[in-house]
C-alpha cells in the first residue's frame, strides 16, 4: 500500500468519535466572527454596531488577493465590532452578533437535493473559481489557505491532477471521516468542480486505510466518475501534509521552498473543502458552518458536530457532555499540529477541525533531558531535515546557519518532538527559527 517515502510516525489513533453520526449543534446566543480566519490579509469588517444580519450576510470583505470574505452564520444584530480572543490565543478584530431567530439570505438554496455537474452545464472554470472566492472558502484541513488562490495556477504552471486530502492523519479527529460517510455524493461533485476549475482530467482521493468504510463507500460512489480514483493509503503521520500526500499518491516530490505543489503539477484540496465548494457553487451557500470533532479520553460523548462558525467552543463542549473535571489542556485541532487554547470562550473558525480535551495526565510534557544523539528525529522528519540540529541552532539564534540547513522547509508536523526519547522541545525551537528566518528572507526580498 502506498505512503510517502521519507520519515513519518504512527501515533496511537484514538479515533474515539469514529462512526458517530454528524449532529447539528444548537445555535449560539452570541456568535463571534474573527476577521482572521485564514492565512493572508485579514478581512475588513463591513458592518457596524446595530446592523441587522441574516445567515449568509457579508460581515467582512477580503482584504486582498490572498484573503477571504467572512459571512454571518447566524441571524441577529451586530452588537459590536471589537477585538476578541481568537484561536491564535491573541485578541484580534472580530464582529460580535447577538443571535435572534434563524433567518437565511434568500439566495441560499437550503434544499438537500443533490445537484450534479451535468445539471449545471453553464458553469465554466472562471465562474467556479469566482464563486469559490466569493463564498470565502479556505483550506478546511486547518491550514486555512484561501482556496481560490490555489485554483489559479501562476503563469507558466499547468496543473495535471487534483488530489483530495481525505487522509485525516491527525489522531483523534474524525470530522473528514464522518463527512465522507454522510456526504459522499456532494464531495464527489465538489471534486469534479475543482477538476473543472483547474482544467484537469485526473482526480485522486487519498484515504488512509484506517477508514475502510469510507474507502469502500467512496470507491463505490466514484464508479460514476471515471476520472476520479480513490487511493487507499497506509496509515502514517503526517500523510495529510500537502507534500507528503503528493508523494504518497502520485510519487512526485515537491522541491524545497519557494517551490509549491503546482510546480509538480498537483493541486491539493481537503475533502472538507471539496464539500464546501459543492455547497458554494451548487447551493450558493457561503462558508458558514463546518464539521468539528469534539473529543478526548475524558469527554463524555465524543462527537462530530456540524456547527456554525462563530460558535464559542464552550457551547460545543456543553453539547458533548460538558468540560471534564480533569481537563489539563484544551487543544484547537488535533494533538499533533493543534494549538493549545487559553479559554473556551474562543469561537470556532473556518479552520477548526477539532476540539481536543486532554486530561491532566496526558496534558503535561515530560521534562526535557539532554539530547542523546539517537537521531530518531532525523528518521522521523518527513522533510528529510535534521531536527536536533535545527533546534540547537535556533536556540542559539544562529539564523544564517538555520537558513542554510533549510529550516523553512519544516512543515511543523511535530514528528520530531513526538519521537524524541529525551522529550526535547524540538519543534518549539524550530518554529522560532523558521519564523525568524522567514522574516529575514522577506526583509531581504523587500530590500531588493
Amino acid at each position: 500500500m502506498k505512503t510517502f517515502s521519507i520519515g513519518g510516525v504512527h501515533p496511537a489513533e484514538n479515533k474515539l468519535s469514529a462512526g458517530s453520526p454528524i449532529r447539528e449543534a444548537a445555535l449560539p446566543k452570541q456568535a463571534i466572527f474573527s476577521m482572521f480566519q485564514h492565512i493572508g490579509a485579514p478581512a475588513k469588517p463591513v458592518v457596524k454596531k446595530g446592523d441587522v444580519v441574516k445567515v449568509g450576510t457579508l460581515l467582512g470583505e477580503a482584504g486582498g488577493f490572498v484573503s477571504a470574505p467572512i459571512y454571518s452564520s447566524v441571524s441577529g444584530k451586530v452588537s459590536k465590532v471589537d477585538v476578541a480572543l481568537d484561536a491564535s490565543d491573541t485578541r484580534r478584530m472580530a464582529v460580535y452578533v447577538d443571535v435572534e431567530g434563524d433567518e437565511w439570505e434568500e439566495s441560499i438554496d437550503r434544499s438537500a437535493d443533490l445537484v450534479r455537474l451535468e445539471d449545471r452545464p453553464d458553469l465554466d472554470a472562471k465562474t467556479i473559481v469566482e464563486k469559490i472566492k466569493q463564498a470565502g472558502i479556505v483550506g478546511m484541513g486547518g491550514a486555512t489557505f484561501p482556496c481560490h488562490v490555489k485554483l489559479c495556477p501562476p503563469p507558466g504552471e499547468k496543473a495535471e491532477c487534483v488530489i483530495i486530502n481525505a487522509v485525516e492523519c491527525e489522531p483523534y479527529l474524525t470530522s473528514d471521516h464522518s463527512l465522507m460517510l454522510e456526504k459522499a455524493d456532494e464531495i464527489l461533485v465538489g471534486v469534479a468542480l475543482i477538476m473543472k476549475a483547474v482544467g484537469v482530467e485526473r482526480g485522486y482521493i487519498g484515504i488512509e486505510n484506517n477508514k475502510p468504510d469510507a474507502i469502500q463507500l467512496m470507491t463505490e460512489k466514484a464508479k460514476a466518475y471515471p476520472q476520479i480514483e480513490v487511493v487507499p493509503l497506509k496509515v502514517q503521520y503526517p500523510q495529510g501534509g500537502e507534500k507528503q500526500l503528493i508523494d504518497a499518491v502520485i510519487g512526485r516530490q515537491v522541491p524545497a521552498p519557494p517551490a509549491i505543489p503546482i510546480n509538480v503539477g498537483a493541486v491539493v484540496q481537503n475533502v472538507g473543502t471539496a464539500f464546501a465548494i459543492y455547497e458554494a457553487v451548487m447551493k450558493n451557500k457561503p462558508l458558514i458552518s463546518r464539521v468539528i470533532t469534539v473529543t478526548g479520553k475524558s469527554v463524555k460523548q465524543p462527537s462530530n458536530l456540524l456547527a456554525r462558525l462563530g460558535t464559542p467552543f464552550s457551547q460545543l463542549m456543553e453539547e458533548c457532555g460538558g468540560l471534564p473535571a480533569d481537563t489539563g489542556k484544551i487543544i484547537g485541532g488535533g494533538p499533533m499540529m493543534g494549538k493549545a487554547l487559553i479559554s473556551l470562550d474562543i469561537p470556532m473558525t473556518k479552520g477548526s477541525s477539532g476540539l481536543l480535551i486532554m486530561n491532566n495526565k496526558e496534558a503535561r510534557r515530560a521534562e526535557a533531558e539532554p539530547c542523546i544523539r539517537c537521531a530518531k528525529c532525523v528518521s522521523a522528519c518527513p522533510m528529510g531535515l535534521e531536527p536536533y540540529l535545527l533546534s540547537n541552532i535556533s536556540s542559539q539564534h544562529m539564523w544564517e546557519e538555520a537558513e542554510r540547513e533549510c529550516i523553512v522547509s519544516c512543515i511543523e508536523c511535530g514528528s520530531c518532538a513526538y519521537t524524541c526519547p529525551s522529550n526535547r522541545p524540538l519543534l518549539d525551537n524550530i518554529r522560532l527559527g523558521k519564523t525568524t528566518v522567514m522574516g529575514i528572507i522577506r526583509e531581504r526580498a523587500a530590500k531588493k
Partner: protein, 326 residues
Amino acid sequence: MNVILIAVIVLGAVGLVAALVLFVASKKFAVWEDPRIKQVSEVLPQANCGGCGYPGCSGFASACVKAAESGSLSDLNCAPGGQAVMEQIAGILGLQASAAAPKVAVVRCQGTCDVRPHGVEFDGAHSCRIQNMTGMGETQCQYGCLGEGDCASVCLFGAITVNPATRIAEVDESKCTGCGACAKSCPRGIIELRPQGPKNRKVVVLCNNKDKGALATKECKVSCIGCGKCVKVCEKFEAITLGTNLAYIDPDKCKMCRKCEEACPRGAIKAFNFPPRKPKEEALKVAEASKTPLATDAPKAPVATEAPKAAPAPVKESTVETPKQD
C-alpha cells in the same frame, strides 16, 4: 658526515630564501593600519556587547578612528564605557567628546503575579520569544512581560534578572550600561532605553498595554488605560503624549514634577529614585487642619484607598533607596 653537511646547507639555503621572500612580501604587501585603532581598542571595555552597533570593540575602534577624520565623534557612543571612555578616546584622537546622555534599560511592565494573575501555564520551551509566538502567554495581557528571561540571558553585565516572585524582569541600574541588548531581545518591546536622568531620576509609564481602557482594566490592575489624565496635568510641558490607548513620557521634555504620577488613577506611572514625598504630605496635613473636615474627606478618600493598592512598590522603593542617593 657529508650527508649531514649537505642537509644543513640545503635546509639553510631554503630557510634563507624563504626568509628573503617573507621579508620582501612583508614590505611589499604591508597593510597600513592606523596605530590609533589599537590605542582606542585598548581603552574600550572589551565586552564586545555590540551595544554601539558595531561588531565588537575592535569594530567600534575603527569606526571611531574613521569618524575622527570627519572631525566629530558625536554619532558614536560606547555605552558600557560611558563618558569616561569616550573622553579617553577623544583624547587619543585629539577631539572633543560629545556629551552623550548615558542610558539605562527600563522594563515597562509592573504586571506582577498579584496584579496580573497567571491563568494558564505555558508548558513549552522556556523562552519569551517562543511563548510570545504561541499567543497571549500565561496572563490575560498580550503586551506584558512574559518573565521567561530572554533579556536576562543576553545581558553580558548581569544587570537584568527575572524576579521569580513577581515574574517580571528587573533592571539593576548600577550594573546597566545601556547597551540595549535586552531591548532587542524582548519580543514585546517592553524594554526601553531611557536617559539615566539627573541623580538617576526618571518618570516613566510602566505599561505597554495598547488595549482599550475597559479591557486593559480587566487584564491588569496597574495597566495604562489611556485615560489621558497625565496628558492634562502635563499640558504646560507637553511631555506626555497618548498613543494607542497608551501614554508615553518624552524623557527630553519631562521636568520631573511627578504630577502625572499623582494623577494616574492606575498607578501605571512610576517615578524612580525620588526622595519620599514629605513636603507634599505636610502640605496635605496643613490643608486638612485648616479646612473643614467635610471638605477634606473627599480628596483624602482616593489617596487612602488607591495608594496602597495601586503602587505599593514604588512608595517603598523610593523610601528605601533615597538615603543612599542623597
